[in-house]
């Protein structure tokens, strides 16, 4: 049966990683590249087979679990090392293995000059394996292993250029900021175990409506902790600061880990736990609010940055904000839809920026670019297509997914969320075209000694494929006519949630506890799918996108002197350019006290108390042996005396 192949999907990259990690230097760069990309290709092909196997499942069965071995057990608690395949997993599998494969191929070209080529690919494959474990694990603990695994690989790869201090610092920052979220995630898993007695996804999600009270304390705490975990991994307020710094890593890393896959793990996790989140309206409000706020805040910062990769990093933060907003208003399909299309166009954008950086020999400052479209046409056109997609121009993929998010923000959320979303869309169109115009159009500001050139085919082919996906990805979710939304129908088994039943159970639980259940009747009012409103919103947001593009055109093509005039000496601009001073704030409030406390612990507790007690013990022993040393005088007659005295005292004792 084809589904039996499931466990091979994460195994291939793991094997590739092991081979490259241990023998990479010996087998040469070509072999390393073939093994790395080949393992991803095998993984992708296996995913297709698993997909076919899944389609062949009998009617009504929407989940397949494969227990590889029983991981550990304690009492009546046992955890399996098992994989779970359901529609959501399959979508993620295709994104990770498909986009992952394309980026692996690209990286072969991009990293070719590097000495530690093999090290890069060992980590890269390891990342893919951990990410697949994250999305395919059938319980929270296995997900956590993947969750930590991807964080670890992210750390390795951000610090890939470890000779550079800034790269090391960025890696450390990413790791530590992620720890905050990971800790919350772990607490949530413990709480879940405490309540359900199991951490298996399907069991927990199945039992959730019966064991948890709607809007009760337990579910709110659990989901809040899970959400804090998601903010860490997915770079949302307040834990987003690591992602822009993570751009110190090589560009393929930014594309795969910090745009397409790992940073969307938080969104995936929330969608995976939708049965819990549906029961916690307060958390949902927080998720939506944080998502919308992140979307708009990151977009404003993105407008002011000059480093091409940093702009894209803030753009990623902002787009994940959209996904969170979608999750928060209960539009999980829209979140996953945007996740998928974002993976396509953002991977393409990052790879395109990598191609630009490659073509002008490592320059990342957009002020030293310009006019590159004639030198690198393939990069330019693919970049432009993806930019149009992220800006939300019909009929590219980003248009459909973003509109769906905004539509649901208005219908299921409220007008504030929608307003924030649409403003962020305007800013997105503006800063993305600012990026395009500054990089590819206008006068060339490139260093005259540098001769820009187009990248080799191994790098441009992935760009073309990704641009194609970014164009066509919208097919997954054409929203207008009911029943045409492929992704919606596909994910229905995962997202199916019977609110009436859950509320009924909650009332029952509260009743048994002798408490009064509030009235929830209004929650069950049916919501109508308003096609005309959606049409209107589509046209409106397309207009917004075009406005943003036009503004960028005026500012950066027509009147290149304008940005200077607007921004010079403006404290508001400076504030935004300095990222609202959040980094400095965190430095003052968290980093410095921690460092000082650590110093105190080191110098006072460790060096004085702990080392003192250990060394003190040794000193006491030393002093005692000094005393005993007097007996060993070196005088033979002394020894003879001791023998005699000893013998006599023996005699005295015995008789």
């Amino acid at each position: 049966m084809l589904l039996k192949l499931t466990c091979l999907v994460p195994l291939f990259p793991l094997i590739g990683s092991i081979i490259n990690g241990f023998f990479g230097l010996r087998i040469g760069k070509n072999a390393v590249g073939i093994i790395a990309a080949g393992s991803m290709a095998l993984s992708f092909l296996t995913s297709i087979l698993v997909f076919i196997g899944f389609l062949l499942l009998p009617e009504g069965q929407h989940i397949f679990e494969q227990v590889v071995w029983s991981w550990f057990g304690a009492g009546d608690f046992s955890v399996d090392f098992g994989f779970q395949v359901d529609p959501l997993t399959l979508v993620m599998m295709f994104v990770v293995t498909g986009v992952g494969f394309i980026i692996h191929v690209y990286a072969i070209g991009y990293m070719h000059e590097e000495y530690s080529f093999y090290r890069f690919f060992a980590y890269f494959n390891l990342f893919a394996s951990a990410m697949l474990l994250l999305i395919m694990g059938n319980n929270f603990l296995l997900m956590f292993i993947g969750w930590e695994g991807v964080g670890c690989c992210s750390y390795f790869l951000i610090g890939y250029y470890f000779e550079k201090k800034s790269a090391c610092d960025a890696g450390t920052k990413a790791f530590i900021v992620n720890r905050v979220g990971d800790f919350a995630f772990l607490l949530a898993v413990m709480y879940i175990f405490n309540i359900f007695g199991t951490i298996d996804f399907s069991e927990v999600m199945h039992a959730a409506p019966e064991k948890l009270v709607y809007a009760g304390e337990a579910v709110t705490i659990i989901t809040m902790l899970l959400f804090v975990g998601a903010t860490g991994k997915s770079a949302q307020i307040p834990l987003y600061t690591w992602l822009p710094d993570a751009m110190e890593g090589p560009t393929p890393v930014s594309a795969l880990i910090h745009a397409a896959t790992m940073v969307t793990a938080g969104v995936y996790m929330i969608v995976r736990c939708n049965a819990l989140f549906n029961l916690a309206p307060m958390t949902m409000l927080a998720v939506a609010g944080i998502g919308a706020a992140t979307a708009i805040m990151a977009a404003t910062i993105g407008m002011t940055q000059f480093d091409i990769k940093r702009v894209l990093a803030y753009s990623t933060v902002s787009q994940i904000g959209y996904m969170m907003l979608a999750c928060g208003v209960g539009a999980y399909t829209a979140a996953i839809f945007h996740l998928v299309t974002h993976a396509f166009f953002k991977a393409c954008l990052f790879l395109g920026s990598g191609s630009v950086i490659h073509g002008i020999h490592g320059e990342q400052d957009m002020r030293k670019m310009g006019g590159l479209k004639n030198y690198m046409p393939v990069t330019y056109w693919t970049f432009l297509v993806s930019t149009l997609a992220i800006a939300g121009i019909p009929p590219l993929s980003g248009f459909f997914s973003k509109d769906e998010v905004l539509y649901h923000a208005l219908m299921d959320g409220n007008i504030i969320f929608w307003g924030m979303g649409i403003s962020a869309a305007l800013l997105t169109a503006f800063y993305m075209f600012r990026l395009v115009f500054m990089t590819f159009h206008g006068e060339s500001r490139v260093d005259p000694n540098v001769h820009p050139h187009e990248s080799p085919k191994v790098m441009t082919m992935p760009l073309v494929i990704l641009a194609g996906l970014a164009t066509a990805g919208g097919i997954l979710g054409i929203p207008l006519f009911h029943g045409w939304h492929i992704l919606h129908n596909w994910l229905e088994p995962v997202l199916h949630f019977d609110l009436a039943n859950a509320l009924h159970h909650s009332e029952h639980i509260l009743h048994e506890a002798g408490r009064h259940a509030p009235s929830w009747a209004h929650l069950l009012d049916p919501k109508e799918h308003n096609i005309w409103l959606e049409m209107f919103l589509m046209v409106f947001s397309a207009c917004v996108a075009i406005t943003g593009i036009a503004a960028a055109y005026i500012f950066y093509i027509k009147r290149p002197d304008l940005p200077e005039k607007f921004t010079k000496g403006q404290w508001g601009f400076e504030l935004v350019q300095n990222k609202y001073g959040v980094d400095e704030l965190y430095d003052e409030t968290f980093v410095k006290p921690t460092v000082e406390a650590s110093n105190l612990l080191w110098k006072e507790c460790d060096a004085k108390a702990i080392d003192g007690s250990v060394i003190g013990t040794a000193k006491i022993i030393g002093w005692l042996s000094k005393q005993a040393q007097a007996f060993q005088s070196g005088f033979v007659r002394n020894y003879a005396l001791f023998i005699a005295v000893g013998f006599i005292s023996l005699l005295l004792i015995m008789f």
Binding site: S633, F635, A644
Partner: protein, 104 residues
Amino acid sequence: MFEGSVPIAHYLTLSAVLFVIGIVGVLVRRNVIVVFMSIEIMLNAVNISLIAFDHYLNLSNGQIFSFMVMCVAAAEVSVGLAIIIALHRNKPTVNLDEFNLLKW
């Protein structure tokens, strides 16, 4: 003029006196040769008591044992004198207190 034999107490006293002389010699004298001789005296003091008991109890074990002691003493003398000569080569003295290097 002596009726019978010398009582055993006399032998034992002689043996004890010689032994104590040997001990005291080992403890108080500084000359290596003299210390060495004192050790021999102690061995021979033991021999005397062994022979005395042997005769008193009318056995032969004691005589055989004293031969063993003599053999040991002979071996000891050869090794001991060799050590003393080796010492003397390193340091032109026979004063035992000068040889106090072997310590920590």
